[in-house]
Every structure is written in C-alpha cells, then in structure tokens.
Symmetry: D3
Subunit: 337 residues, 6 copies
C-alpha cells in the first residue's frame, strides 16, 4: 500500500532581509528565502520523509521559477503550483535583537496568490490519495479568490473524510478585501477536524474571554468543540517572549476529554523567529500521522518548534531524529561527530 500524501494550501511568499541585525538603510544586500505559513509546514513535513503536495500560485517569471526550485529542493511536490502573470508576494524583514523588535512590511495584496481562484485548482485531483489537508487563517485573509478556493477544498475534503488541520491565525491588518475575518474563520473552522490554537484564537473567533491558564484553555477547547462539532482535537502552543532573541515555549492539548502538557523549553539565542509556529504545526501533523499518542505528539511538536528557532529561513530543516532527541529532554547541544 502506498503512503498517503499531505496537502497544504497557501501563499508562497519571498522574505527579504538585510544581513544580521542591519537595517535596510545601512545595507546593500539582502538574503532571501521562500516560505509562507502553509508552505513552511509542507517543507518541514517533506524533511520528515512524508509525501507532501503544496497548492498555490507563483509568478510566471524567473522569481516564480526560483520559488518552484526551492520547493522541489525541500522535496515538496509542485504538480499543483500554477504560474500566473502577477508578481510573487514578498515581505521585507529587519531582524531585531534583544529589546529591539523585528519589523516586517508586506507586498502581497496584488500578488500571485491573491489572484488564485477556484478554477485554478482541481481539488478532486489534488485530494486524490490525500490523508490530511492543512490550512491557516492567513490564506482566506488575502483575497476573495483565496477564500473561495480554500472553502471549496475544505468542503470536498470534509466530505471525503480527510483529516483537516486548521491553524487560525487571525491578523487584523490583513482582511482588506471586504469580508469579516471573524466570520470567514468561523465558517472554515466549521469545515475542519483538528484545531491548532489556544485561548487567544478561541477568544478571537468566538468573541469569548477565556483566561490564559490551564482551566481557561480546557474550557475554551470544550466551547470550541461544542460550537464546531467536526473539531475533535485541540492543540495549543504557549509562547513567552522575553526578548526578540530569548523565548520560552510549551505545548498543551485537549483531546478525547484529556488535557496534556509538555515541559517548557527555553531558547536563549534565537537564530530565526519566523516559521516557528509552522514548525509546531508540522511536528504535530507528523505526530498525528505517525501514530504518536497526544503527549508524545505535542512533545515532538514543541521540540520541533524550539529547534526551528535555531535554523535560518522560514522552513524547519530539523530531522525527525534531531527533534526526537530534544523531545526526549536532551537540550545540551553536544557536538556530534
């Protein structure tokens, strides 16, 4: 029996950053990476050896070619990437350090992915042989076309009994095309089976005010499941940001009426803060697919998230073995020969 694939849907976006902690006004060059929250998940899953397909648009030029080559290099299946005559979305980042915050400015709202539409994605074909579909709240926030395309995919996937992992990621400064973010996210979560989020996200979507402690999380998770009966599992990650380069994270879950929680991991010299949430999601999906139980899965996901902080770029390049070691409590970083 052949392995079933994971499908991700979302923007492929280019990150451009001056070297080190430089500001653009003192630089002459920038490093660039291709990423995007869902593509990051795809990239990490491919590093784990899973078969994963990303569905998106890229620009019909050498920038889009480079994006495709990058995805191929990660081992992502690019069969369902369209090339369209709109520039690839991008963002600039100035990396902060310590008490100086990193800053990001976007150029994405008229880009390749913003111009996706249901006719560009053959969901029947895409979901053939698919066991899990992953989406985040960034995609439907970009454009009406992205929203419609995603909704179509979720509807079909739910009908096919495919596991659907939803990472709502409500950002109020997106959602400029006319729809209400809260309404759209509520609708799409209703079409999903696994919720990757916590008290903040539930409060945002349901308009509730649950507290940020264990009880608040459990109550929020229960309320979410009552509201959206398709949701059978809730996985959360709690971050304490001490500075731009010093973070603490732990993970918790509410599944089958059981609460689980990991140790907290401290990261003292952050190499790259971007994509750490996506690394968590990918770790979790790997846990789900490879049959870990929930405490194991969130420990793996939390360790994946922690390791991503030490890796440059948007995609977690850590291997299953490296993550498993950290998940098992080895944080010594001892040289391996």
């Amino acid at each position: 029996m052949t392995q079933q694939k994971v499908v991700t849907f979302g923007e492929v976006i280019m990150r451009l950053s001056p070297p080190g902690f430089d500001k653009m006004k003192q630089s002459r060059s920038m490093e660039f990476f291709f990423g995007g929250t869902e593509m990051n998940v795809a990239g990490s899953l491919a590093q784990f050896g899973l078969q994963v397909q990303h569905v998106s648009n890229v620009s019909n030029d050498f920038v889009g070619d480079a994006a495709i080559s990058c995805m191929q290099g990660y081992g992502i299946d690019v069969t369902h990437i369209n090339k369209v005559n709109h520039p690839l979305g991008l963002y600039f980042m100035e990396a902060g350090s310590g008490l100086r915050a990193s800053q990001i400015t976007y150029n994405r709202l008229h880009g390749s992915f913003a111009n996706i539409s249901p006719d560009l994605v053959d969901w029947e074909k895409v979901l053939d042989g698919c066991s899990l579909l992953h989406w985040t709240g960034i995609s439907p926030a970009i454009s009406e076309g992205a929203y419609q395309t995603l909704k179509q995919g979720l509807t079909l996937a739910l009908k096919k009994g495919i596991t659907i992992t939803a990472d709502p990621a409500y950002r109020s400064n997106l959602w400029q095309y006319g729809r209400s973010g809260h309404e759209v996210l509520a609708e799409l979560i209703g079409l999903s089976t696994v919720f990757i989020g916590g008290v903040n996200e539930v409060n945002e979507i349901l308009g509730t005010a649950f507290t940020h402690d264990k009880d608040g999380f459990i109550t929020a998770a229960k309320r979410l499941q009552e509201t959206y009966p398709a949701i059978i599992k809730v996985y959360d990650k709690v971050r304490t940001g001490l500075s731009a380069t010093h973070q603490k994270i732990f993970a918790q879950s509410w599944t089958e009426n059981t609460y689980s929680k990991t140790e907290e991991i401290e990261i003292t010299q952050v190499v790259d803060r971007i994509g750490t949430g996506d690394a968590y999601a990918a770790g979790l999906i790997y846990g789900l697919i490879s049959g870990m139980n929930d405490p194991e899965a969130i420990a793996f996901a939390n360790a994946a998230c922690a390791l991503k902080h030490t890796i440059a770029g948007d995609v977690n390049l850590a291997t299953v073995q490296e993550i498993a070691e950290v998940a098992n409590g080895n944080h010594s970083g001892r040289l391996k020969r």
Copy 2:
C-alpha cells in the same frame, strides 16, 4: 544670485539582483539599489554639484525610509517625496553576460508611485526657483494618476518658461491602465522644449518610418519640431549592442538647424548596463545648464553614458572631471594616484 534648481519627476524603484551573473534559482542573496529613470538623472546631477529636487512617492515603511536615505546620500533634495501606504515598486534583474541577455521582471503597477495623484504634488512650490524640469515616458505609463500629475507639472512649467527635457521611452508592455501610450506621449512632448531621443522614438510617436542614418535622424528631428513647435533641440544617442557586456555608443544632435556628432566609444567589459541612458540625459542636462555648446554637450553626455557602464547601480557616480577626461578622448583608464 542663488543657483536655480533642476526638478525631476518619476518613480523611485528598487532593483534586486543576485550577485554576479547568478540566476535567482541558484542564489540566496540579492544586492539592491534604489533608482528609477528620472531619479537616476537627479542622482547624477547631484554628483555634478547641481541643486536637484526629485518629486515622487515612496512607501510609508522602512523600505521607503531606506529609499529616502539613499537619495539624500546622493545629495538629492527630498522635500517633495511623499510617504504613502503602498509598497515601493521594485524589479528583479538577472544580469546576463556575453550572449546571455539580462532579464528583468517588475512589481510596480500597484506601488507607491502608481498611487501618486495631482493633489499630492504642489507644483507651484516645486517649480519655484526651478530652471529645468526633466521627465521620461516611463512615468505616464504607470498609472492615470502619474499621467495627470505629470501633465499638470509640465503645463505649469511651460507657462513659466522653464526648460523641459523629455525622454520619451516608449515601452509597449507598460501602459496597462487604459490610455494609449502614443497619444499620451504625443501630448506631453507637445508640452516640452528639449527632446532626448532619435529615429526610433520619433517613428514610434509620429508613426513615421525614418531611416536610421544621419539623414533619417535630421529629417526625423525636423518633422518632430514641425509637429511640436515648443521643441527647440533634439539630442540622440545611438547604441550598438554587440553582446550583454560589449557595447558601442555615440551621440548626435539637431539644434538650430545644425547637425553634430560625437566619436563612437566602445565599452568592452560592461559592469552595469542599467541607467546608462539616464547618465546620458544627466550629462546632457549638465551641458545645457553649464553653458556648453552642442558638440561639447553631446560629447560630455556620451562620455557620461560610457562611464556609467563601468559603475554598479542605477545612478552614475562619475564626476564632472572624470567625464570631461573621457569626453576629451582619454580612454586609457590609467591608474590615478
């Protein structure tokens, strides 16, 4: 009496290129420059010691800040640069070499400058104390707002008796906002006094088919002056591209019923091909302002253009002295201690 200023109007655009002759798909970093055809002219004129003001929009973020800092660094007056909530236009370039062509792809049509409009530019204030206004055909090709803003400036400048240098630069793949490039350029050239272009440009605008020799150039120039009586001088630059890194250029003019022509200069190892036409325009404007006669002015402009091929970035950083030496026939490149 204080020196009078030169004003330029046009997009400030960022160039992003992989190092050397790399293609994006094999790179992880890009060099960047701020330029734009009219800003390049401003930058070169500022190197010559002229007072020059650029009128444009930039993005209201750290990218726009970097663009402003870059212009200030060249010595350009940025008083009339607006900061707007649209991303700065940009383009990617893969530099070719020899028989491999350089390639450019743009992301500008929804950018900062495309969102300029007449209410954002106080032309009375801008043109106060201005002796020369420079524009190119790129600006009105970007958006209706850019076209209307420019037209308003030209109309006022012409009324004030300001010298207006027009560099039509017809590119058919721009002009996507609804107007005909030929009609718009024809209208705006009618509001100008100096034409920087040759047989190709005249044929393009008037729909004529003059030949590319000396007689064709003279006849074209005459026809242009008959059509647009405000045009009193026509300056041209003729390029022979032997390869991406091997070029020949000479300049010619038709002014006061007299034809002038420079020697042809050969450039065998092009460092940067971008902005060479703008370097020519800046050289010419310097010649006009500093009181050179026409053969001197086109020799200076041609030498400025040639030297720009040896300088990285969009803006010609050559000094008046360096250019004068080349204009006087010294091409030996001998080390100066």
Copy 3:
C-alpha cells in the same frame, strides 16, 4: 501516453572554489556546487522540462542530503540515489583568467560513487519507461564497481532498444584501479548507439591518427561506425581555447552519411568553463528527443554549450527559449524586460 524518461548514471561530486579568481592560499571561503558530468546533463534536461532520473551514490550524511536537495531543486528524480557510508567525492578548483589556467585537484577515488556496485542498482526498475540512457567515460574510470554497474546497465538498455548516448571522455590520470581505459571504453562504446565525440576521441579509442579537419572527422566517424555497428550517429563539438576566458566553439555531425556543421560562436567573457561539454550533450539529447533534424540539433547543442559559459556552477540553467534564440543567431545579449 506518458512521457518517457531519460536516465543518467554517474558520480555526484562537489566542487569547491575560492571566490572570483582567488587562489586558495589567499581565501577564507569557498563557493560550492554539486555536479558531475552525467548529473550535469540530467540537470540541464530537467530545466528543459524533460523527466530525468539520475542513478548514483551519495554519502550518508548532511553532505549527501545537500546533494540530494540540490538535485531535487533542479527537478531531477532522485529515487535511485543510494546513501552509503563513504564521503561524497569532491574537487577543488582555482579559477584562472586570461592566460592563467584554472586548476583542479580531486578527492574522489574512495568516495561514495567509487563504492557503487551492481547490487546497488536495480537496472530493470531504472530502465522501465526509459527512452534514453546517457553515460560518459568518467564513470567507468573511477572504480571496478562503477565499471561493472555501468556495463550491466548498458547491456540491458541495448537489449531493450533504448537509445544510448556515449560521451567517452578519456582522462589518462583517472583509471587507477587496474583496468585499461582504452579497452573499457571500447567495450562500452560497443554497447552504445550515439557517439558524442570527435577526432580526438576516436583517435584515442581506436589508436588512429585522423586529422582534425572536416575530412578527418568524417573518416573517423565512418571508421567508428564500422568498428561499432551499434553506433548510428556521431556528434562532435570543436573548441578553440584562446584563453581561460575566451573561447570559440562549433558543432558538427555525421549521421546517415551526411555531414552537418554549425556556425562558430565566440564567448569573450567566460563566467564558468565547467560543464560546457555536458551542456552540449544535454542540448543534443533534447534535440534528439524533441525531434529536431541534425543541423537543428547540433545548432541547439552548440548554443546550449555557449550559454553555459555564462552561467555559474556545473549545470546549465538556460531555458529552451534562451537557447533557441542563440541557436537562431541572436548573440546580442539585449536586455529583456
């Protein structure tokens, strides 16, 4: 009907070079590329859109992982790449310029590929759905295992009626494992159907002394076909090296008793000399597969070879369209917007 794949067999080797024209003793960093003469052909064919599979060994460490990721990035199918506990082969290159020759030193004879053996390659599976198999004389020169593995593949391919392109590339300083290069090459060319080589190669293998003019080439090709009846086509490329950075090339062929020859192309500023012969082979294979006639195919191959001189790294990244333009005589390198 699905497209049939091309298969290539050979070492994946890492190139390490100090930047620019530096010598190692004055450097602190090196650029690296993954290549290898047959992998280069695979990479170029993948850029052309063909389905291509490379068969090789890489090291079972993060260096091997990087090599695999690089191949995937080119679009090469890596299903039949083995990971073995021997370091990846590599070479150092100091790039020359003008009259200074580039220098290469190898570390490959105990590497991953040298440790390949027939039991590591399932040729039945590899050749399933394959229309063309490409090999060069470098592979059997590395080790007995490489020789035996290749011979097994060629024997099966010939039996299956697959087109077999042979690029003998006799290098006397390889062949250190005990066999005679001349004998092995003669044996393996006897198992091939297309010969990519000219007078030098024929003289080397047959011990003849044909002259280096047109007549010499035709006579050599005829003699080759008489000796190895399976060879039905002979394609050659003739290079004149004026300096490390100034080259001339043309191509010629002897097929179906007809001689064809291309124009000579001059390359004046070589960016990267490595892999130009492989670019030629890939161009030729594309011509064969896409149904070009012989003059078209060698013009395409010659243009591909010429363009490779302008591209850094071992693999030709030029597209079919770029090559076709050069093949059609456009060498102007004019900027494409």
Copy 4:
C-alpha cells in the same frame, strides 16, 4: 516659525572591522562605518527628525566624499564640512565577545580633523539659528587647532545664550599635542550649560574622590555647579559591563536640585557597543528640545542607549517611536508586522 537647528562639532572618523568576531590576522575584508562621537549624536538627532548641522573637516579625496555622502544619507546638513588635503582619521576594531574584550587602534593624529583651525569655521554663520551646540572632550584632545576652534565656538555660543551640552570624555592616551587634558576640559566646561557625565567625570576634572552611589553623584553634581556656575543641569548614565556582550545601564540626573533615576535595562546580546554613549546624549538632547521633563528625558535617553546596543555601526538608527516604547517599559522585542 522655523525649527531651530542643533550644531555638533567634532571629528568624522572611519571605523574598519573584520566581520563578526574575527581578528584581523584571519580576515581578508573589513566592514566600515563613518562616525565620530559628535557626528554620532548628529546622526541620531537627524533620525529623530531634527535639523542638525555637523562642523568638521574631511579628506579631499573619495574617502572624504564617501563620508559626506554617509552624513547626507543620515540627513545631516554638511554645509560646514571642509575638504582638506589630509587623510581622514580612522580606527580599526576587532570585536570581542563574552570575556574577550574588543580592541581598537587609531590612526587619527595627523588626519583631516586634527588639521582644523579657527579660520576654517565661520562660527557666526554656523551658530545663526542654532538653539543647541554639542561637544565632547574628544575634540580638544586631538590637536591645538581643534581645541582653539572649539573654544571659539563655545565662547560665541555662550554669549548668544545657546544651550551647550558638554560630554567630557577624558581619555588619557589622547592629549598628545602638549596641553593638559584636565585644564582644557575644565576651561571648556566652564563655557557650557549642560553636563553629560557622572562621578567618574567629575572626579577626573575636579580631582575629587566622590563615591559611586546616589549620594556621591548628587554631591559631585553640586560641586560641579558650584565650580562652573553656567552648568545648570547634570545628566549621567551608569553602565555595568558584565561581559563584552552583556551590559546593564541606567540613567540619573541632578537638575533644579532634584534627583531622578531610571530603571536599569539589561542588554544580553550586544550587537555593537560603539556609540552607545552618543546615543544616550542624542536621546537626552531630543528630550531637552522636545520639552520632556527630566525623568522622561533620562528614560528616553537610557532607552536610546539600550537600543543602540542592538544596531550595527556608530550611529543610532532607532526611531523616536521605537525608543519611546522601550522607555515605556516594553522590552519584549515582539515582532511588528
């Protein structure tokens, strides 16, 4: 009413450093920055939007041109920068890390600024429209000419009622041209109105031995004001250096018979230690000019100093908004999209 300008006077010096934590003997390249203690203050004030003019000499060559362009890029008015036929002063720095100290070696004593003299500065013109003049003890330590030029400026400024901020910065290994540093600083502080310094500086200048606690600071400040009645305010910054890359700072003041003190800020991963005192001075000057009360002003200055530790180069590029956030207690460095 137009805004009044700030004037700074002092050396423009180039910093040259190997990348990262490299030592020169293992490097082939160096990064460079233009700075100088007073120019750093000017640069930071220009980032805050103030009109600021720097008075100095630079070399009459392309190095001096680059220095001028750099200052223009920061938005500093360079009208009163002279170009002289002496090389620009410079220093080399090897950056330390942790318990390894950074090391600096200078080449400045025969440079452009050392050759300044009163006839090169038209102080009447410079101080026209000036509300605040800033100087440090580095300038009069360089040469007799620098001392005389500064004294002339201070004398005139004091007469005009301009606020004069004095940052004595006694370094015993400067002062090689014959005068006593203690005497000169005492004389020039007598011509100033705001003292930026603490117990160390007072003890150094007055030959006292006040203790390094709050009482010592207050007593020292009082004694200073008794000695130099023109001094109406004393602002101090106290640094605890735990390692080259780990620092703590707080600020305190004695103004109008009142003691104020800020929270201590901890910086755990110093990006660049140079210019942090200048960032403090600039923050303080901004506070004074923008009408903050003293606790606000020292909190802003302390936050500016802290943020400078995260920014490469000599000049603080932090904005008023970024600094205000830190001054208000937000040290989380949370990503801003």
Copy 5:
C-alpha cells in the same frame, strides 16, 4: 643559549562550514580553516612566541600549499611537513546553536596524513633541540602508518629525556584500520611523561570506573601513575555543556601528590567550540615551559580554553597578555583602546 623548540605531530585537516548557523542544504558557500588537534596546539604556542615545529603530511597540490601557508602565517615551522600524492583530510561542520547540536562528518581516512609512515619522518633531526613533544590519541587512530610513526618518535623522545605531553582523545568511531584503540593508547601513554586528561580518559584506558568528583580524579590520577610510572603529572579540564552556545569549564591537576583546581569560567555566547581542548593543552604547555607553578599553569590553561570559545577557527589566536588577564579574574570584556 637558544630557545628550545616544541614539536607537535598530527594531521593537518581542513574544516569546511556553511556561514553562521546555516545547514549545508541551504548554503552556497563555506568558510574554511586549517587545523587538526595537534596543529592547533602548535598554532597557539606560536602565537605565544614559542618556537614550534609541526610534523605532518599535506597534499601535493594547491590545497596542501594553502595549508602550509596557513601554518607559516601562524608562525609554525613547516620544515618537516611532507607533500604527498593523497588529498588533504577534511571535515564538514554544520554549527549548531542553543539546543541544536553542531554536526561533523569526516573525509580523512585515505588522506595525506593517513599515508604517513616512519620513513617520511627523520625523528633524529626533528627532535634535535626539542624540549617538549606533544601528541594526542587522534593520530594513532587514523592509520597503522600514523601509529608506527608516532611510536617511533615517542620512543626516541623518551630516551632523550624530552617532556612528552599526551592528550588521549579516545573516539570510538575512529580506529578503523584494525588495531584496538585501548591497547594502542595504553602503549603510547606508557611512553609519555605528562597526561592531559581526567576521569573519563583514565576510565576509558584502564577500564576503571572512577567517579567524576575530586576524589575520583585524585584516585584515577594515582592509579594512572602507578600503571605508567613515566607519567609524573596529570592535568584535567572539566566541561559542563549547557547548550551548544553556553558552556562552563574549570581545570584541576594532580602533580607531586598535590591537588589544584581553578575557578569555573562561564561562556555564554560561544563563537567557535572547535579547538578549545587544544587551546587548553597549549596554555598548559606554555605554563610548563615558562615556569609557572601548577595552580598558575592550570589557571592560564583554563583561561586560554575559555578565550578560544570566542575566536573563530581551530587555532587559539589569543595572546599571553589577553589570557593572563582572564586568568587573573577579569572577565568583563571591557573595550581596549
């Protein structure tokens, strides 16, 4: 009387690492260094001003030339470096950060040093004028030839009464050529006079199970001296690795029946972890040669080790003065002008 030289024997190996914390699969360039555990000791001793000669093989190509030039640049005498027709050994390292471990993969077992043999080293000549010979357990682990060559040297040195410092460095994944690491190390330690190692090393070699506290160390040292009477001193360094970039170290010794111990030094931002043990050994050897008593010598050695963590590359570039300051308790890293 002329100063007597120190001799070191061991592999010269090249390290190749992607920049910063990058993984090879996301890089295009690598930094390289020449080192090797014994050569690192030689390099550090040469920085201290000692006369030091390294005995080894390098490759007979431009890589070997670069290695020789590098050693000369450190001030190492290369008279007894042979050039042989085998590639220089090398390793790749991906640097970890925080909880991510650094990873190393080797290519050395068929390299230049592996091909050393007794006939290539004239030990009589090498040891003429030599006061101290240093070796580590890496060398005899590489090949039979390396083992035999070293044994010959040690035997002669012991006979001549030369001090012999032994740093057993047992790595189980070396020792692939057929001999037992434990037996060989036991034999060679029997030919040495100073043991640089602690409980781990003694347990490894003697098959004992001493505990890792002070008593364990003393008992182990005593047992070692009983077993190998030539060993008169035992020096140890104890490392606590909190993460890849956060370490603690202290040193202890058992000499003349006396235990000594240093303060523990904490290193919070490791720049380079490689060669820190070699820096310790070099510091110790310097202490022995320059006549320090044991507490001084281990304090100097421990400080040398600590400082090496802040220096890129394999060799400690810290000076005697820098180390002495740290050894004296100054860890503030305060800027030195």
Copy 6:
C-alpha cells in the same frame, strides 16, 4: 653550501578596496591586502622557493601583527621587521574598469615606515649571507629616515659585492619631506648594480629626452652606464595601457652591449593591476639568481608580470612552473586537472 638570501627593504602598506568595481560611497565593506612595492617582490620570490628577508617597520598593534602574519604566510623571513608606535601606512583604491581609471589615495606619510631610521636596522646582520639586495625609489621618497636607512644599506652592500637591483619609481607627488627626488635617486642609483627601468626613468633621472623606441632605449641605457659605472645591466618593461582592464607588455634589456626583447603579451581581462611591476622585478631577480641568460630572464620576468594581472592582491602568487609555461608561449589558459 646553503642558499644565499635575497633582502628587500621598503614599506609594508595595507591596501583597502571596495568589492568589485564599486566606489567607496556605495560600499559598506572593503577587501584588504598587505603589500608595498619591495615586499611584493619579496613575496613573489618566496613563492619561487627562494629565501628572502624583508626589512621594514610595522605598527605595534594588531594591524602590524596581521601584516607580519601575512608576510610569514608568503614565506618571507620577518626577523628584521620592527614594531613601532606609529600606525601602519595604508591606501584606499577604487578599482576602475575599461575607460574608467582606478583611483588611489594614500595615508602613509606619518606611518610606521616613515618613522624608520638607521638605528633600527642592523645592516651588518641583515646583509650577512645575502647575495642580492633590492630597493625601489618609493622608499627614499617617504622620509629622511627611510632615505638615510636605505643609503646606509646600499653603501654596505656595494662594499660587500652584493648584487643591488634598483627600481627607480619616481613619483613627483611623493618627496614631501624636503629632498629633491632627482638628486636622491641619482645618488642611490650610483650605489646599485642592476637598473630596472627604461627610457622614462632615465630621462627622469638624467634630465635627458631619449626617444621611446629601441634606439632610444639603447642610447639611454648606455648613457646611464656611463654616468653610473656600477650599473652593469639595464632591464626594461614597456606597457601599453589600452584601458584599465586591457594591457600589453613586453620586456627588453641592454646587458653586455647586447639588446634583447621579448614577445608582447596581451592581457584582456585584468583582475588586478597593482604589483605587476613588482612581479616583473621578482621574475627578473629569479632569472638572475637561477642563472638564466638575459633573453630567458626577461621572458620569464615578462610572463611573471603578465600572470600577476590575473591574480588579486599585491603579491604575485604564480609559481615558477606557471610562469615558465607562459614564458614558453602557452597563453591558452587551458584547464589543468
């Protein structure tokens, strides 16, 4: 019998250049090299395997340490390098290309070497075992101390019968310390035995006006020998600079009443123009020492000079073998594996 050493005397100077063809005002980093006209000769001779000692001052700081390490890396004996408390001399260079000239600006007149004096050099010791002493006209142009020190050395060397090669290199913009360059050079050439220069140099020193053809050269050489009877050989190199990156060179000599001349070599893509004359001098000295006849020696010197144009930095890194190939007419730059 041991090989006798070559001694060179002159400034060790640091070159700082922005990357590629950048101007400083558009750069943030610079590459640096240590060189100096006589040190360049020493470095090249050391590459050839000769024993060579350089006599000079460097700064007593980490810059001077780096300079010493660099010389050691070339294999130069640094026994007679003094460390003094004056900064190392340096120069900045912006590299030109094609018709744009390179530009250099110096900071050397108060540097380490300018502060050399006869008491710092023990010429008896330096010249012990020396067979050839090389000097150029740059050294006595720097300071009175440099002049006196050199004169002392030449006087002793001449007395000892050592070959003295003189490369007058009259630069009018040096010689600022009070002496006449013409007089000093005349005096010092009178103390030399081999003259490396041609018509320009003779005309400059003797105030003659010989023509630049063969006859002019011969007549000039004769006149020189009449004027300075110690001069027994005259070697010249004639350069035609077509552009900054395109040069032609040939060499000629007048020795023992015989004229010799080499072929002219064309260099079309200059990598680095600095130190090419020094490469010529080193080639010539090697020829003299190794017993070549004059046509061989100037062919070797001319080839050395040509190859230096392809090598970055001040010192020629070409080997004897590489040079011999070019001297023998092989300019093809064919890849060496």
